[in-house]
Structures are given as C-alpha cells and as structure tokens.
Amino acid sequence: MLKIQIIAAVILVLGLLCILRMIKKRKMELKYALPWLIATVIAIVVDAFPQILFWITDLMGIETPSNALFLIALCLMIALIFLLTVVVSRQSERIKHLAQTVALNDEQIRVLTQQIEQMKSDKLSDE
C-alpha cells in the first residue's frame, strides 16, 4: 500500500465520521448530506482499489491517473454546487412566500384588533 493511500484513507474515514456525527447532532439534514456521504464512500473504495481509477483513466482516454482523478473530482464538485444552487433557489422562493404571508397576516391581525377595540368602546359608550 502506498503512503498516499493510507493518508487518504485516514482523511476520508475521518471525514465520513465527521459528516455522520453532524447528522446525528442534527447540524446537517441527511437529505442534503447524502451526496457527500456517497462521494466519500466511493472515494474510500477507489482508494482501497486503485485499479478502478486506472481502468477509468484508460476508458476516458486520459494520459495519467492523476489527471483523471482531478477531472472527476472537479466534475463532482461542479455538480454538487449546481445542485446546491437549485436548492438555494427553491428555499429562497419559499422564504419569500412565507415572509409575504406573515406580513399579510400581521396586517389582518392589526385591523381585526382595531375593530375589536372599536366594538368594545362602542359597547361601553352605549351603556
């Protein structure tokens, strides 16, 4: 086993445990942590069996395995960031809608409270 394989394995396993711990402590939603979890597990497998990387390098017609590794990692990062962009967009829309609903409700509550106060003082002045 190469030195780099051992170092990578340690870092990846620590990373995996870290992600799992954050989910456990409710600091991260499992739903959104899934891509990271899957990517880390795949990385551990490739780290243990580098032949997979060599095979992919040949398959894609790339010159060296390290080039292939960087290419794959970059593509993965881009895909992940893109996914997050979509998620953020959706959240932003939902928050906007919530803000508007709260504001409209606040106004309705204010108006109703005024009407109740008015009715109460009308009743008092009738007596």
């Binding site: 989910i23 939603e29 499992l30 739903k31 609903t101």
Partner: protein, 232 residues
C-alpha cells in the same frame, strides 16, 4: 376524561376529505380533529371551508413529516392528552380509534401503532411494498430488539409525552420508521394494535416506485444513525 385529537394530514384530498371527516364524526365522536392542509394544489381547502372543518392551512408545502409535526404542535399547544395520526385519503378506519385509545390507556403505552400485519385482514399492500415493510421490521428489531409489525403505518396514537417529543423533533421525509426508532431509543413503550385498512378511495399516492428505492436507502441510514443518537 382525556382530551383527544385526530391529526389529518391532507395533500390534494378534495375527493376524500369529506368521507374521512364523516367517518370520524360517526365512529370516533370523543375525538376532536384538525386537518393540516399541506398547501394542496386542488380544492381541498375550499371543501374544508365549505364544511366549516377545523383546518390549519400551511403557507408552503412541507411534506408528510412537516404536516404531521404541525398537527403535533397544535396538539401540544391546545393541551391534548392523546393525538392520533389519521390519513386523509380514506385508507384508515375510524372504528378502531376508540379501541386503540382504550389499549393505550390500559397498557399504559406511550404509543399505539395500528398494524395491518397482526391479523393480516383487509388491504395488505402490494407484495413489493410488504417486502419493504418486513425489511424495516427486521432492521428495527435488529437495532432495538423491539418488534414493530407495521413500521410505516400512518395510523399511530400518541400520549402527551410523545406529543411533546414530536412537536419539537420530527423527521422530514418518510418519517414513520425513523420516528419509531427515536421513541424506542427514548425508552418509550410502543404497542401494536391490529387494524384493518382500506384501499385508497380516489386520487394518487405520493410515493412512486423510483422514490421507493431512495426511501429504502435513506430511511435505513436514518434508522442506523438514530440508533446511535444518545438520549438521557
């Protein structure tokens, strides 16, 4: 006399919601009910308003987890002793609610889950779905040594302790199995009770076959993680 609530999460149930509420009024009159309209795109809200039903109208769609949790927050806020989840699509049968409540009180359970698979009567779900449910039963048993015969059942009755837990913490998607493990980890007492469920009357179910694979994987992972959370 305990204060009892039925939580009815509803998404696009304009065709079924009236039958569901009528079933409840007829067979479980000692229960109040609240419909949680999960931002339905059809006329569910209008049907509820026309009939003057008690509705909580969510401003955005939260999914079954968020909708049900809203119900539990309502139950906690209004001081209910017992809250039961009841599907808005007509699959659940209100005649079992009184029996379930009696079982909960008699056995001093924290939660009673209506299970299709004790007496195996009525609608049993497709073979594939059943296999999936069996898988979860085994997984939960492996991790908690407790047997839950119908871990995906949406017909669950909870006491005040559980209402408080769920009001504060409830999983987002596919919440049923994960929330059961959460309660078991808190050393709550969970009982199964045999019920009969019907086939969906109208409309579509919200779980497609593609989602089922994601469901199996995600829930398994969630259950495993739940096993390792610590509770005092």
């Amino acid at each position: 006399m305990s204060k009892n609530l039925v939580i009815i999460p509803a998404y696009n149930e304009e065709l079924n919601i009236e039958n569901t509420v009528n079933d409840l009024k007829k067979h479980a009159p000692e229960f109040d009910y609240v419909i949680i309209n999960d931002c339905s795109k059809d006329n569910t809200l209008q049907v509820c308003r026309n009939n003057n039903y008690t509705v909580i109208n969510l401003p955005i769609n939260l999914g079954i987890g968020g909708a049900v949790q809203t119900g539990y927050r309502y139950a906690w806020k209004h001081g209910y002793d017992i809250a039961v989840q009841f599907d808005g699509d007509g699959q659940h049968d209100a005649t079992f609610l009184t029996e379930m409540r009696e079982a909960l009180e008699r056995e001093q359970a924290d939660m009673v889950i209506g299970s299709r698979y004790i007496k195996k009567e009525g609608f049993q779900s497709s073979g594939l779905r059943r296999a999936g449910i069996k898988y979860f039963t085994h997984l939960i048993h492996l991790l908690t040594r407790h047997t839950v015969t119908d871990p995906t059942s949406g017909m669950r009755m909870a006491n005040r302790r559980v209402i408080e837990v769920f009001a504060n913490n409830y999983p987002g998607d596919y919440p049923e199995p994960e929330s059961v493990v959460m309660l078991l980890r808190m050393k709550m007492k969970i009982q199964d009770y045999p019920v009969v469920m019907k086939e969906r009357l109208a409309g579509k179910s919200s779980i497609s076959p593609m989602k089922s694979i994601y469901y199996m994987f995600k829930v398994s992972l969630a259950i495993l993680l739940e096993r390792f959370r610590s509770y005092k």
